[in-house]
Symmetry: D2
Subunit: 341 residues, 4 copies
């Protein structure tokens, strides 16, 4: 059900014109003449009214505004599915009582470093290893990742340490090689509205971690999840990683209120990445604690054995000791809200 | 110490002109000729270089950029004072191990309602009663507060329930009447850069709760604290209450990363107001928990016995039962990070 | 007329409760049961429903959303007054065919400099002299303006050069002294929601130039104009001066689309201040030209004879020669859109 | 040349550690001990210091801040190439004295409609036809474009009306088909940081129109241009199309100050798309005029013969009559600034 607000003084001819258009789409209408505005209530399943149809109505003479009552996403919504979705990855479940931690370097650099990090994060309690093989970098002159070689090291680390792995897919052309190795496919913030990529990961059967775009509204983010789900893949988790605001003292502004809000709006599991959210090593631990307290189902944290030599994001990576300390700080907070980690 | 970056090809005459200007202010300079840019290092206590002097230098022919190395605030900075500031209000101390909770209605409406709320929040563990007597409202047609009558009710509630009180000062003309009653003076978000007001509360001896402006950077916020402190009043606490971003699903975006960041930058106590930060009742509790986990020294929470009849901000007010439940949820989180509530 | 959207599954008891509440305010209701949502149409003059009443309804059990159809401002709206408002200031009219230019220094520094600038801008075609006597500065250690002495110099310059004058009022306590001298009272961006100040300038009979707040929506800006007008003073002009966004390459982001949008929404004259909008001298002229092309009724431009020695905003001030050149560039653009300057 | 600011109290050991690291990269250093901070000036061609190396230095013990003096882009910068770049497309030149207008529908819907529009915009003076065959849509349930069929219609329209054509490339997999038909390849706002796509269009010889991302800084935008240029393709034009801010009264906030600012920073031609910038038909003409006055080299404008039936963006499309009127309004403004259209 939608509402169409008319400009004051809209002629009857124009009103009839608008009503006819709506009826041509199988919708019924109810006109209410107020003292200051006339509105047309649109009755029927208006969730099928597409954006372009809405735009077209907005473009009609006499229309001041169109107010949509129904949400434009369906499969992702809590209305559609009441209970929390749980996503199985190898032997673990994301979205249940246990909070999972994905940890590892920003980029896979070589096997020795990766294995060093994997061992440390495993021992500290992480269950998933993160690491980029194809890296989105703002400069063409920066390290762009090891490619398939990096994926192999990740897979080796999985076998050796019993960790599931997550890595980023940047382009539809890399789909096959990524599928060969990873457990979870990450869609990065800059690709949240790369719709071709979303459609492709919608057609596969591996879980997708969908990062929020730098300036994506929560509604747009859920629409991107809907893209994936509309193709069949229901295993989507949403990862808050900071939004772009006027504040430059932190790399981004981590929007933790998105966590409880999403819990109301969607059944999908929520992940928080405090490392990218703040961009400063010293702020990662308090924000990780806050994310748990706010209700996150999982965390994604950058860890590096030697941040000063890291080829990417050294500034925001925790050293293994700090990560281990953080993991022990998170436990009582998880317990305080009836969860475990 | 500051750095002046010169445009490529700046003439020697212009360079000398800039150096002369700096020397006229008692500063020494060191010129470094690079392959692509020449820079002038400015030596001496450049923290005394005012904004307008910086602007003037920026306006000189040949200057591409001025990079300031020192922070423009001093009294508020952690460099200036290493240990945390503790603020005494009646028999309590804000900024110590114990986390304090300020709770109460958005606006004082009448004595019965206020007392009803005060009793409930006191029993739940709040130590400070909040309530507005002069209300900033975006519409001139909205309820603007009870004025002095409201202040009297607050003072009565303090006497009856043993709570300290905090209320907002909106205009220098209301200074005297506010001073007669309140324990803590609140400067609202819209007045964070009302510099005349800041100077006035700088000259008194009551603690000031300085809310962050809707689009204030952390640096500007600390500069506003500096305004107050520069007049003598060192008892300033900073209250994060959400910033304005592109996201409209929440009333504001609560910037919790400001909490640990401010802990590094300043010695002043940090308060978080999740009620205004999110603007939706259901999100207040998770964000209050997150604020504690992030390291806040105090919380400010709107509570109303009958939100549906509240004259202001009913949508984001907790009912007493929910507030009591929240207080008990906060305890184990405070303990988990070595504090108490 | 407003729309109340109910949560799915809201009980009849709760619906009746909401309807009763609305009827208690003299409003009629019309319930429409859709397939996915039930909505309550509210009939009657809902423009009298205040913010707090709206909040209270939003706070009721079962209410998912309240959609307001009518604008919350009235006197400022184009609906209320169809023809453009023209504001008389001494012998000039703002809001008519002729575009006026307000020019002068950021701050009044001394009589000689002010007179030097006034003569130049007068000769170049400006009709109003700008200059601050009370200056809002982000640092307490910066030059805060000459106070009444500065106002006297402005008044002297008015007498000598035949220019109207505009200067900023920062605090209700300075109302009397400002009123003694100025022709137009400026409310600065940081005070756009200093509601006490708005009410005071609403009670006088001098024109008010209301700058847009750094993060004020157009609706909030019009509400601030409504504050002034609700007290009787209809002579309000709105001044766009840039909003705060994520972009830091310019001081602010000058929102020129606000100009034609406001022309639709309100009858009040629109002023554009490109100097603060961009904060860089070289960008002022192109943005001044663009403002005229977009439909501005007046411009406000910072001019200084010696920007390198200016006590404030030197970086963005034009030198008199550049200002004269700009004035001659603006003429054909004004003509191109059927206006004059 | 870069500047490294050290934390107060950094030990000599740590300083030597940092210097050694810099020297290992072939850079020289100069340490200046100030009263409040010690800084290390880095001498040599630091433009080769990559992001990750900068991050790594920032991650070292004792480093408070790293200030980069040189711009991270080179080929795109005005420093590198002083004179304006002119881009040849068939028989026209973008970036010269003549301002070009790209006009057409948002999406190609069918041949009849496209030809109807093409004829109108050609007659009104447009030289380039725009139209999407692959459409990025926020909803998976919306019209996604005609694909290759749409490209064919565009090519037919080019042949029939003598217009160059521009259309969007969304995915590397569609490169070949797009290359077969189009004259200019558009990279949409949502793909501005789709780095794989940028690298691919960098390897071809057709001009690229690079739209600014919704929350992209000007620096990031130039870095994306650099991506393309680093692969060899120097024919890049930048298209401002509005950024995302807190203001929702317009679809986006058109940042016209980007136009003169980019003219200083880069030699590349600047295009403005007021249709997406504001999202409301009535505001397109004033903003198009303003864009010309601000110095744009070209405009991109949505035109549709029947916006009410358009399958996309009807709300912001001009009808042919309005477009013809606009073209005649633009002429005198172009002349006023010494250009033609």
């Amino acid at each position: 059900m939608d509402i169409i607000v008319l400009e004051p003084g809209t002629s009857d001819v124009n009103i009839r014109h608008i009503i006819k258009k709506l009826e041509s789409k199988g919708l019924k209408t109810h006109v209410s003449q107020g003292t200051e505005r006339t509105i047309i209530g649109v009755i029927g399943d208006t969730s099928k009214v597409t954006e372009e149809e809405e735009d077209a109505i907005r473009a009609m003479t006499g229309v001041e505004n169109v107010v949509r009552i129904l949400k434009p996403y369906k499969l992702a919504s809590r209305d559609f599915k009441k209970e929390n979705s749980e996503i199985k990855v190898r032997n673990i479940t994301i979205g249940g009582k246990k909070i999972h931690v994905m940890a590892g370097p920003c980029a896979v650099e070589n096997k020795t470093i990766l294995f060093g990090i994997a061992e440390k994060v495993k021992n500290a309690g992480a269950t998933i290893l993160r690491g980029g093989a194809f890296k989105p970098r703002t400069s063409p002159y920066s390290f762009q990742g090891l490619g398939e070689e990096g994926l192999k090291y990740l897979a080796d680390a999985r076998d050796k340490f019993g960790l599931a792995i997550v890595t980023e897919l940047m382009d539809t052309k890399e789909m096959d090689v990524i599928m060969k190795y990873t457990d979870i496919i990450q869609i990065g913030a800059r690709n949240m509205q790369n719709f071709k990529l979303l459609l492709e990961v919608g057609s596969i059967d591996k879980p997708v971690l969908l990062k929020r775009g730098l300036s994506a509204t929560i509604k747009e983010w859920l629409m991107s999840a809907e893209y994936i789900m509309s193709r069949g893949n229901q295993n989507v988790m949403l990862c808050e990683r900071g939004i772009r605001t006027f504040e430059t003292a932190t790399r981004n502004t981590l929007d933790l209120s998105a966590v409880p809000l999403l819990k109301q709006m969607t059944h999908l599991p929520i992940v928080v990445d405090p490392s990218h959210g703040v961009g400063k090593r010293d702020l990662v631990a308090p924000m990780a604690r806050a994310a748990i307290a706010a209700g996150a189902d999982a965390l994604m944290i950058e860890v590096h054995t030697n941040p000063e030599e890291a080829l990417s994001d050294g500034e925001q990576s925790l050293k293994p000791d700090a990560f281990t300390r953080l993991m022990s700080e998170l436990k009582p907070i998880a317990q305080a809200i009836g969860r475990e980690i």
